[in-house]
């Protein structure tokens, strides 16, 4: 019988498998909100327990072994040692959310309510620092608080934006050894690893929410402008960041080896709903050389496939993504302009693995009826799953407001697409 791991391997090689592999929770962009995890556990009859928030920025919940089994999940993930707010996922304690759910959060999840009732969170769990994230009281997750000190053009140095890109520490390496040993003890499912520091100009990371005193260009609009007005500055950052990333990939690979099949390399969003954040020429000039170096190293020295996340209407950039050496595209935002799944599959299906696009999350999953979700998912699986090259996942994380009946309908449809009754 084919294992989940083997199934993933086959589709990554663009070969048909006995069924479409499923990811729900392997990465910070393919996960499930903690509220939905609890609703799913209840609906599937799993024991009631406070769910761990494994990714505090987006409040993603742990999809544990029991839930993986119940949902038919084929892939798991190992994230970087520290969360986006700079603390480790350890020392779990209970926390009551705005929506009344009791969840488990790590020790470093230090928060306070501001005068308007919003929840503020601190980098490294240090309440003496400026808070780096805010969850509105009617919200379900955090957004970064931009802490941009006034820019002094004459004193701006690439080092300011490079502070976070450092060689993996002894603690990091010990973490990876533990995680990989744990995985190897029972390697049933496929594995995605995220070693961190490999995404260039990722706008979610530019504000440095894990840092107490981020320096350099940290404002989101200023960063976008910087890509035009200070190209030498950006090249210098990317050059040095790439050198560190290559060294870290090498060190991490010595520990991870072929336990992982996929490395999460880049979460930089290049697409909006109907356009891109830059022209293909800009991508080729500014980003491609550095990604190409990372991907070339990966392909020469490992069996890993390289995972590229970008929301939005990125079809005009896909050829450039391939040229930069990426093997996998996520989340395949099928309702963005130009992202018709048939066109994508026809044009790129033999060269690019689609990891996502299994269900539209802007219109269908949150707002359609369960039977409409089921029909939609079956169609997506039929189109994208043909001849391998497809890992089922929603278009980005499943959010807190989705009716659980629709997520169950989604799962039913995947099982039907896979020939289960």
């Amino acid at each position: 019988m084919t294992t989940s791991r083997e199934r993933l391997e086959r589709v990554l090689e663009h070969r048909s498998a006995d069924r479409i592999p499923v990811d729900l929770g392997a990465t910070a962009v393919t996960g499930v909100h903690v509220r939905m995890v609890e609703l799913l556990r209840d609906a599937l009859g799993l024991p009631r327990q406070p769910v761990k928030v494994v990714e505090p920025y987006q409040m993603l919940g742990e999809v544990d072994e029991a839930l993986c089994d119940a949902l038919g999940v084929d892939v798991v993930g190992i994230p970087a040692r520290k969360t986006l707010f700079g603390f480790e996922n350890e020392g779990w304690r209970e926390f009551r959310t705005f929506w009344g759910q009791v969840v488990l959060v790590p020790r470093g999840f230090e928060t306070r309510l501001d005068e308007g009732g919003d929840l503020l969170i601190y980098p490294e769990g240090d309440r003496s620092a400026r808070p780096s994230g805010r969850m509105p009281k009617s919200g379900f997750f955090f957004d970064t608080i931009v802490r941009q000190d006034p820019l002094d053009e004459g004193r701006l140095e690439p080092e300011d934006n490079l502070e976070e890109f450092t060689p993996l520490s002894e603690e990091d390496l010990a973490y990876w050894r533990r995680q990989i040993a744990h995985y190897r003890a029972k390697p049933r499912r496929g594995l995605v690893v995220s070693i961190g520091g490999t995404g260039l100009g990722d706008i979610a990371l530019v504000p440095g929410p894990w840092m107490k005193n981020p320096r350099g260009v940290r404002d989101i609009a200023e960063w976008y402008v910087t890509t035009l007005t200070r190209p030498d500055y950006v090249h210098a950052i990317f050059e040095r960041q790439t050198a560190v990333a290559l060294a870290n990939l090498e060190v991490a690979h010595r520990i991870i080896g072929d336990a992982a099949q996929v490395v999460f390399l880049c979460g930089t969003d290049f697409g909006t709903q109907d356009s891109q954040f830059c022209a293909p020429d800009t991508f080729r000039e500014l980003y491609r050389p550095y990604y190409r170096r990372m991907n070339d190293w990966i392909h020469r020295h490992t069996s890993w496939k390289s995972f590229k996340h970008s929301c939005g209407a990125v079809e005009p950039l896909i050829e450039s993504f391939l040229d930069a050496g990426f093997d996998i595209l996520n989340p395949v935002q099928v309702n963005a302009v130009g992202m018709d799944p048939r066109l994508l599959k026809e044009r790129y299906g033999d060269r690019l693995v689609f990891w996502g696009g299994g269900v539209d999350t802007q219109k269908v999953l949150p707002f359609a009826r369960p039977e409409e979700v089921e029909t939609h998912v079956l169609r997506q699986c039929e189109i994208l799953g043909k001849d391998g090259g497809f890992v089922f996942n929603a278009v980005h994380n499943i959010q807190a407001n989705v009716p659980v009946e629709n997520v169950l309908a989604m799962i039913r449809a995947v099982k039907r697409a896979n020939g289960e009754k």
């Binding site: 509105p136 609009a221 035009l228 007005t229 709903q273 109907d274 830059c278 005009p316 802007q362």
Partner: protein, 222 residues
């Protein structure tokens, strides 16, 4: 068109803020929107003409290129900065009444949502089209929109949302606005929003890009 105003328009379109600004490289060392607007005023060109033929024209061109996928968010942000640099010189004429705004546009990202890049670009485009913009920021509740409508009864309201989880708040805000001010004009926009949703929640107008909003505002100002 006056040559000076054409150059000003080009500076706005290309994001040339002032003489010291290094971008775009092809205009390095040349006067930018800041200097050219001052020069236009000093040469006696009426401020309403500077606004229309320099600023509105430049923002309209970059807006069209953005709609066509030929310009991108960074270029839009720089154009807006150039427009703002020039607009600073025109502000006294708005205050004195020498130049009339086309209307008031009250804009904000709805409650629960902290995303503002899209909303900011729309605000800049609308300001660049000659409207007074009152930007209420992010995470804005219905009461704040209602209070602005009371102050500016003929204003157009713009609501932005990036998240499916906050689209529902957009619906609540539209409903509260219309309960108190029936028929008030409310624009909606943002990544997950579309015209079907606009119809469902009873808002007045949706455009997938900022230029669409600007074009529709023109019909309201006319």
């Amino acid at each position: 068109m006056n040559d000076l105003l054409e150059r000003l328009s080009q500076c706005v379109e290309n994001g040339k803020i002032n003489q010291a600004a290094p971008y775009p490289p092809k205009l390095k060392g040349q006067p930018g929107a800041d200097e050219l607007c001052r020069e236009a005023l000093a040469s006696g060109i009426p401020p309403d003409r500077i606004l229309e033929e320099g600023l509105v024209s430049g923002m309209s061109r970059i807006g069209e290129r953005f709609s066509q996928g030929k310009a991108f968010v960074p270029e839009m942000l720089l154009a807006a900065r150039a427009m703002t640099a020039a607009m600073a010189h025109l502000k006294p004429f708005f205050t004195s009444g020498a130049v009339k705004r086309k209307g008031v546009f009250v804009v904000g990202t709805v409650a629960g949502d902290l995303h503002d890049i899209g909303k900011n670009i729309v605000a800049m485009m609308v300001e660049g089209a000659g409207w007074e913009v009152i930007d209420l920021g992010v995470d804005v509740k219905a009461e704040r929109f209602l209070s602005e409508i009371e102050k500016h009864p003929r204003c157009v309201v713009g609501l932005s949302a990036l998240l499916t989880t906050t689209m529902v708040n957009m619906e609540k805000i539209v409903s509260e606005i219309h309960a108190r001010f029936p028929g008030h004009v409310v624009f909606v926009g943002g990544a997950p929003v579309n015209d079907d949703f606009r119809k469902k929640i009873g808002a007045s107008f949706y455009a997938p890009d900022p230029q669409g909003a600007v074009e529709h505002l023109k019909t309201l100002a006319a």
